[in-house]
Symmetry: C2
Subunit: 194 residues, 2 copies
């Protein structure tokens, strides 16, 4: 197996080990044992525990941002796409956080150690919003004194409470969806052409 070992296989095994042992205890040796290979084979793909952790974070975060590309690329009116994008991201996070709080906390802890990966993820998300807004502006569906890039960043900031794991403990209360809906209403009213 060692010869055919792919980075993807290492990633899957690493996620499995991290879930079971938690990020503090999991080691590269555990991942190698899980795969039945030497730890040297794992290091060939990921030269350090930090590199492996970054790859796991990236993999996890891409599972959240990749499906949103479909929303960005859809032909629906831009205001509706923004609302769908925000609802979808927030719902995915809440589902994970409420269904398996421990796994969610584990991923949050792993990602917290990969600041550059998280920053890149956040930039990707804000950029998705900016692209919807740029498209909406060019179609006359949206308008602002801000540029599309600035407006995308602003909308991303405005919905952070509904998406950022730091607030997961507050998502269990009633009315979260309505609260998000109201933020969307104010924000989308703020981007309406006059």
């Amino acid at each position: 197996m060692a010869e055919a070992l792919t980075a993807e296989q290492v990633l899957v095994a690493a996620e499995d080990v991290l879930r079971r042992y938690g990020p503090a205890k999991a080691t590269v040796v555990d991942v190698a044992r899980e795969l039945g290979v030497s730890h040297g084979s794992v290091y060939r793909h990921f030269p350090s525990k930090a590199a492996l952790r970054d790859a796991v974070s990236e993999h996890w975060l891409a599972r959240l941002s990749d499906p949103l590309e479909k929303v960005v690329a859809s032909t629906a009116p831009a205001p509706q796409r923004i609302r769908t994008w925000v609802q979808q991201l927030s719902a995915a996070k809440r589902r994970m956080a409420l269904e398996d709080p421990q796994l969610f906390a584990t991923y949050h802890e792993i990602a917290s150690g990969s600041r550059d990966v998280v920053r890149a993820h956040e930039a990707t998300l804000a950029d998705q919003l900016s692209r919807i807004i740029a498209d909406g502006m060019s179609r006359g569906e949206l308008a602002s004194d801000l540029t599309a890039e600035q407006a995308g960043q602003a909308v991303f900031h405005a919905v952070i409470w509904f998406c950022h794991p730091a607030h997961a403990g507050e998502w269990g209360g009633p009315g979260v969806e309505q609260a998000l809906d109201r933020v969307c209403t104010v924000v989308l009213d703020g981007l309406r052409p006059r």
Copy 2:
């Protein structure tokens, strides 16, 4: 001194002890020692460590929300009052977090243990925004399909990234003030009468 001991004196001593030892290590006995009284005298005011912690949290959070009442009560146009309110709260939090990160983290940790106190504080802040918005609506300076109460809650959610201690680690970067300014622009455009 024990006879004249006020709740306020206990609070001041408790804050001092918490700063020095941290919330995990500080005990009611430490507070009593600081005051030169028996721990029974402290318990007369605060029947448990949790009650003392809640009081310290409340005292700290009131120091943040009390000065904002002036902004709410000012005669400036409502959109300007909202912007000032948001800037003032965010600036106060950032100043504390950047000037004395350890003390800020200590307060955050204390407050995290006092969830009801934090919830009441957040309700107070959202209510301040709602009152500005209600006033602005009655003066024809603001409008929305939402009620003033819903809109206040929405604006509060929209600026959480700039005020919530969970994001303090990200406030050191460049452009935080501009980013807040842009969120205010979108939100205030969303509350403009049409």
